[in-house]
C-alpha cells in the first residue's frame, strides 16, 4: 500500500533532489511515494533545462574560459531541473570521482565529464568506469598521459582501485602495477601541447582548446595482465570488468551511496577500520548490484524503497553539502527560474561555504558530514539562507507567506506560527528543543495578525530565517 505521507516524501526529495516546495510536495504526495520514485527515475521526460539558452546568455559557460559560468549553470540545473535525481546523482559521482580545475585549467573538458555522469550515472558501473578512464579530464588529472609502455605511471591505476572502486586493503601493489600497465597508451590527443597549455594556464591565442581521448597502440603494453587473480588481455576494459566483479567494489559503491543518500558515514580513508553504520543496508545494496548486472539504477531504486531509507531515525542525519544548502534555499525562494547574471554570485557562495564545484581539494574529494559545518562555514550557510528568506518580495517567499495566510486565516499563536512556517518550508520537522526556542522567540511579539500589512508578512519571513538556522534545516 502506498504511503502518501508528505513528510516522508519531503525526506525523499531532500535526498533524491534538492528539496521541494510545499506545493510540489502536495502534488507528489497526491501521486504517492512509489509514483514519486518512478517520477524521479524517469529520464525520458523533459528536464526543462535549455542548453542553447545557457550558451547564448553565458559566454563563460559556452567557451569554458573559467568555471564560474559552468558553476552558475549547474546551480541553475539543481534549482530548476525536472529530473532532480539526475542532478543529485551527477553530484554524487562528481564527489566519488573528484576531478579539479586547479590542475587542468580547462573548463570545457570538466563540463564534458560532468555531462558524462549526467548521461551514464544510472547505467552499469563497468561502462561508467571505462568512460571515466577515457575522460581527458581524468587522464590529465591523474597523469595517465605519462603512463607509457615500459615506463608506467601508477597514479591512475592506484586511484582507480583505492578511491574509485575497491578501497585500500582489497588489492596488492602488484595489482596496481598490472592495472596501470593495462591503461598504458590511454591518453589525450596533442598531449604535449595540451599539457603545456594546462601547466601554463594558457588561454592564448584563442581561448581554451578542448581535448579528446586517444588510444596509442604503439604505447600500450600488450603483455597479458595478472590482476586480482585473473589472467586477461592487457586492456583497460579488462581491468574494469575484473574490478566490477569484486564484492569489495560492490561494498565500496554501496557505502558511498549510503553515505550520500541515507546518512553520513565517516570519510573514505576510515572505511577499512570503521564498519558501516548499517551493515544490512549495505548488504541489500550489494545484492542489488550483483542481481542487476552491476547497474546503478536498481541499487538506487532499492535504496529509496528500503525501510532503512524511510526510517525516521535517518531523517535529518545528513549535513547538507553547500550545493544542497544553496540550491535548496533558492528552490524555496523561487527567484531563479531564468538565466540571471546574479546566479554567478550565488554559485560563488557554494565555494565560500567550502565546496567549489569541479575544483575539489584533492582526488579524495570533499569530506562530507560534520566537516561542512565548521564554525566559519556554518555562519556562511545561515547568513546565506537568512538573506534570501528576508526578502518578502521574492516569489517563493511570497508564496510561502500566502500559504501561511491560507492555512491560518492570518491569525496565529506563536506555536501555530512556528508550526505552519515549518510546513511551508517543505514539511520540515525539528526537535522539541528547537521548536521551543522558536516559539519562545515568536512569543516575544505575541500572536500574529497578517492582514495585508507588511509588518505581519515580515514576521512570517523572520520565522523562515530562524528556521533556516536550525540544525534540522542545515541537515537534510
Amino acid at each position: 500500500m502506498e504511503t502518501k505521507n508528505v513528510e516522508l516524501i519531503a525526506h525523499l526529495m531532500r535526498r533524491a533532489g534538492f528539496g521541494a516546495t510545499r506545493t510540489e510536495l502536495e502534488e507528489l504526495a497526491a501521486q504517492g511515494y512509489e509514483a514519486t520514485i518512478d517520477w524521479l527515475f524517469n529520464t525520458e521526460k523533459d528536464d526543462g533545462i535549455e542548453i542553447d539558452l545557457a550558451r547564448r546568455y553565458h559566454p563563460d559557460y559556452s567557451g569554458g574560459l573559467g568555471m564560474a559560468g559552468f558553476n552558475a549553470f549547474w546551480l541553475h540545473r539543481m534549482i530548476n531541473s525536472q529530473t532532480p535525481l539526475v542532478e543529485k546523482t551527477t553530484l554524487f559521482w562528481h564527489g566519488v570521482f573528484a576531478t579539479g580545475y586547479a590542475k587542468l585549467a580547462q573548463g570545457r573538458v570538466l563540463m564534458d565529464q560532468i555531462e558524462m555522469f549526467r548521461e551514464h550515472g544510472f547505467g552499469d558501473l563497468p561502462n561508467l568506469l571505462v568512460k571515466l578512464s577515457k575522460e581527458p579530464s581524468m587522464i590529465l588529472w591523474l597523469d595517465n598521459n605519462d603512463n607509457h609502455s615500459g615506463a608506467i605511471n601508477e597514479n591512475y591505476g592506484r586511484e582507480l582501485l583505492e578511491l574509485f572502486s575497491m578501497g585500500v586493503g582489497n588489492y596488492t601493489e602488484d595489482d596496481v602495477k598490472e592495472a596501470s600497465r593495462a591503461f598504458t597508451g590511454w591518453t589525450v590527443a596533442n598531449t604535449d601541447y595540451m599539457t603545456m597549455k594546462a601547466r601554463n594556464d594558457s588561454l592564448w591565442p584563442y581561448g581554451r582548446l578542448n581535448l579528446h581521448f586517444e588510444f596509442r597502440e604503439n604505447d600500450h603494453d600488450q603483455l597479458e595482465i595478472d590482476f586480482l587473480g585473473h589472467r586477461d588481455k592487457s586492456a583497460g576494459e579488462s581491468v574494469v570488468d575484473i574490478i566490477c566483479q569484486q564484492e569489495a567494489t560492490a561494498i565500496f559503491i554501496a557505502r558511498h551511496m549510503y553515505s550520500f543518500f541515507v546518512a553520513d558515514e565517516p570519510p573514505v580513508p576510515s572505511w577499512p577500520y570503521t564498519p558501516p553504520r548499517d551493515p544490512k543496508a549495505i548488504e541489500m545494496l550489494v545484492e542489488a548490484y550483483f542481481e542487476n548486472g552491476y547497474q546503478i539504477k536498481p541499487m538506487l531504486q532499492r535504496l529509496f524503497q528500503a525501510d532503512f531509507f524511510k526510517d525516521e531515525t535517518v531523517w535529518y542525519e545528513k549535513v547538507k553539502s553547500p550545493s544542497e544548502v544553496v540550491a535548496g534555499v533558492l528552490r524555496l525562494t523561487g527567484e531563479y527560474d531564468d538565466y540571471d547574471p546574479a546566479m554567478n554570485a550565488e554559485a560563488g557562495s557554494v565555494g565560500v561555504m567550502g565546496q567549489s564545484l569541479v575544483n575539489p581539494p584533492s582526488v579524495e574529494g570533499w569530506h562530507w558530514g560534520d566537516e561542512w559545518i565548521d564554525t566559519g562555514n556554518l555562519v556562511e550557510r545561515v547568513n546565506f539562507a537568512s538573506s534570501h528568506f528576508n526578502d518578502v518580495t521574492k516569489p517563493g517567499v511570497r508564496q510561502m507567506i500566502d500559504g501561511f495566510v491560507l492555512s491560518t486565516g492570518g491569525h496565529a499563536s506563536p506555536e501555530r506560527l512556528v508550526e505552519v512556517c515549518l510546513d511551508q518550508m517543505g514539511a520540515v520537522q525539528i526537535s522539541h528543543e528547537s521548536q521551543g526556542h522558536l516559539v519562545a522567540h515568536a512569543a516575544r511579539d505575541g500572536s500574529l495578525e497578517v492582514n495585508g500589512e507588511d509588518a505581519g508578512r515580515r514576521r512570517v519571513a523572520e520565522m523562515f530565517q530562524l528556521i533556516a538556522a536550525t540544525p534540522e534545516f542545515q541537515k537534510g
Binding site: R55, P59, S62, P205, H212, F213
Partner: protein, 340 residues
C-alpha cells in the same frame, strides 16, 4: 537540424583579428559579441563576458591592420552608460554607436571616440518597452530596429528613442521566437535572425513581412545568431548552432558554407614570439584533429577542439568593401572573408 549542401560560390579567407584578453584593458577580446565598422575600416568590438569578469566588459577599437586604438565603457552596472549584458552594436549615419544591453533593457549611445552620449529604453511589457533587447540595426533615415527577445518582436524607434512601431509577431503565421541579430540592406529592408525558429526573416522598413530563409530547400539553419547583407544583396548568416557562416544569394539560394579557417592574428603571433616554448610544442600539434564518433556529429564539440573553426559565431557584419567579419565569442577573435 544539420547543414545541407550549398555550393554556388566560395569565400576568400582574408585574415583573423584578435587574441584572448581576459584582463581589464588593452588589445584583444574577451567574449566578443558584436562588431561595427566605421568608414575608415576601424572595428568597434563589444566584449561581453560574464559577471565574474565584469571589468573586462568594454568596447575595444582597432584598425584593419590590428593596431589597437583605444577602448571605452562606463563600467559594469546599471548606471549611465554602463553595461551588464551588452549584445549588439551598430553605427548610425552620424557615426554614433548604439549598443543594446539585454539585462539593463536599454540602448546606450556613444560617439565614435568613446564618449557616452545618452541612453534610452526601459524594461516592461508595454509596446515601447524592452524585454531583452538583442540585435540592432539602423536604417538610412536614422531609425533604429531592435530585436526584443522577450516580446518576440522587432521594435522600431527614432534615433532619439521615440517608439515608432513593433512588428514580427505573426506575419508568416509563425512569429519571431527569441530573435537575436538584425541586419539591414541598402534598400532599408530588415533581416532578423529568428533564433529559436531556426530561420532568417526579411521585413520592409515599415514592418511588412517579405520573406523567410532557411526553412527548407538547400539551406537550413540551427539557431542563427546574426545576419548581414552586402552591397549586392548577398546575405550572410552566422549559423550559431551549426558553428558556421552561411552565405545566401539575393534570392535566397545557398551560395557558400564556411566552417572557419582562422590563422594566427598579428597579436597571436606576438604572443608566440614572446612564448617560444609554447610555439615549439604547438607546431607539432594537430589543430584539425580527426575526432572520435562521440564528438564528430556535434558541431559545438568539433569546434571546441578544432582551432581554425568558428566556435560561437554570434554576429556578422559587412564593411564598405563587402568584407565579411564573423565574431566568435568562444574564440575571442574576428575572422574576415570576402565573396570570391
Amino acid at each position: 537540424m544539420t547543414a545541407t549542401a550549398a555550393k554556388l560560390g566560395t569565400l576568400e579567407y582574408i585574415k583573423t583579428i584578435g587574441v584572448t584578453n581576459n584582463g581589464d584593458n588593452g588589445r584583444g577580446f574577451a567574449n566578443p559579441y558584436s562588431i561595427a565598422i566605421d568608414s575608415s575600416g576601424n572595428s568597434y568590438v563589444i566584449n561581453r563576458c560574464d559577471p565574474v569578469r565584469a571589468r573586462a566588459i568594454r568596447a575595444s577599437v582597432q584598425d584593419f591592420d590590428e593596431n589597437f586604438l583605444f577602448e571605452f565603457s562606463e563600467g559594469y552596472g546599471s548606471g549611465p552608460g554602463q553595461f551588464v549584458l551588452p549584445v549588439a552594436v551598430a553605427f548610425s549615419g552620424d557615426d554614433e554607436l548604439y549598443i543594446t544591453d539585454e539585462h539593463n533593457n536599454r540602448v546606450v549611445v556613444y560617439d565614435a571616440k568613446g564618449k557616452f552620449l545618452t541612453q534610452w529604453g526601459q524594461g516592461g511589457s508595454e509596446p515601447h518597452e524592452f524585454d531583452g533587447p538583442a540585435g540592432i540595426a539602423i536604417d538610412s533615415s536614422g531609425n533604429v530596429y531592435v530585436a526584443d527577445q522577450g516580446s518576440n518582436s522587432i521594435k522600431k524607434f527614432t534615433s532619439t528613442g521615440e517608439h515608432v512601431s513593433n512588428f514580427g509577431s505573426d506575419e508568416d503565421g509563425r512569429g519571431l521566437n527569441q530573435p537575436w541579430g538584425v541586419g539591414i540592406d541598402d534598400g532599408d529592408n530588415i533581416y532578423v535572425a529568428d533564433w529559436r525558429n531556426d530561420l532568417v526573416k526579411k521585413f520592409g522598413s515599415d514592418g511588412t513581412y517579405l520573406e523567410t530563409y532557411g526553412g527548407g530547400g538547400d539551406v537550413r539553419f540551427n539557431r542563427p545568431s546574426g545576419v548581414a547583407v552586402d552591397s549586392e544583396g548577398y546575405i550572410y548568416v552566422t549559423d550559431w548552432g551549426n558553428e558556421r557562416l552561411c552565405v545566401l544569394t539575393p534570392d535566397g539560394l545557398g551560395y557558400a558554407d564556411e566552417r572557419g579557417r582562422a590563422t594566427l592574428s598579428k597579436w597571436a603571433i606576438d604572443y608566440f614570439s614572446s612564448n617560444p616554448d609554447e610555439t615549439t610544442v604547438r607546431d607539432k600539434a594537430n589543430l584539425i584533429p580527426d575526432l572520435p564518433p562521440e564528438y564528430s556529429n556535434d558541431p559545438y564539440h568539433v569546434s571546441s577542439q578544432t582551432e581554425p573553426y568558428f566556435w560561437g559565431p554570434v554576429a556578422v557584419t559587412v564593411d564598405n568593401e563587402d568584407r565579411v567579419y564573423v565574431v566568435e565569442s568562444n574564440r575571442h577573435r574576428i575572422q574576415i572573408y570576402k565573396r570570391s
